[in-house]
Symmetry: C2
Subunit: 134 residues, 2 copies
Amino acid sequence: MRIGQLARSVGVDTQTIRFYEREGLLPPPDRQDNGYRIYTERHVERLAFIRRCRILELSLAEIHELQRYQGAPHQPCRAINTLLDDHLAHVRSRITDLQVLEKQLTSLRASCNDDRDIGACGVLEGLSEESMQQ
Amino acid sequence: MRIGQLARSVGVDTQTIRFYEREGLLPPPDRQDNGYRIYTERHVERLAFIRRCRILELSLAEIHELQRYQGAPHQPCRAINTLLDDHLAHVRSRITDLQVLEKQLTSLRASCNDDRDIGACGVLEGLSEESMQQ
DNA sequence: ATTGACCTTATAGTTACTATATAGTTTTAA
DNA sequence: TTAAAACTATATAGTAACTATAAGGTCAAT
């Protein structure tokens, strides 16, 4: 199949597919005489794997690492679990950070109503106060 | 004061200060004869304002917008509140997304223990399954 | 013959810095 | 006094993961 069909069947842009190829995440496919890329079922699976990892917000570097592990199926899989644990820790820490942020923003927002002048805006005052350091 | 002292007093890098100047967030200061930038108290406040906004993860574009509002203190402040509401909505939506992610990752992680071969790794299998689409 | 849909490469833009290179200036210590 | 350390300046490239744009070649159908 050509790049457009691969793109549609996995749900990514053709540009992204070429980008993954350049980055070494997707093996370079054969070409037709006219230079068009020809993909196989194996490419579909490989790209779908990348897609699933990206949905989980794994980085391309992490995906690369996972692909290296896939090439050595008789090694112990601890490294894979560790990679996932690290990513999970990162996601959890980000959630915590954003929850703190949400509280700060909510409290800042509560310090103003819509019908003041900018010169008296509680939000702007809050942002201008030294107390709002961290 | 010179750039290094401004940087230390607000807690940003000197490079970042020059970057903000190029981006139009910080007004270009006067220069000494040798070309060194000379900052005043007003610059300290302006930079501290930017810093506080950045801690709340407002974008530079949003900070720019806030600065424009500051220049017109007799306009109604509704636009400022709207800007904050939009940002808050964005933060909340990101939290929700990450919480979904966290659940998916936790469940994927639970499908493996540390002492298998990569060929039997539950995590890798989970990532390779079509069911893990979205 | 030309329109439209597809494919190709190369290059630049996005965000908010951060790092590097190269060089001039000021301050401090020997 | 001189030499090193610390500071300043500019310019340019790198980061992450695409996304957009430009300029052009290919193919099927009208």
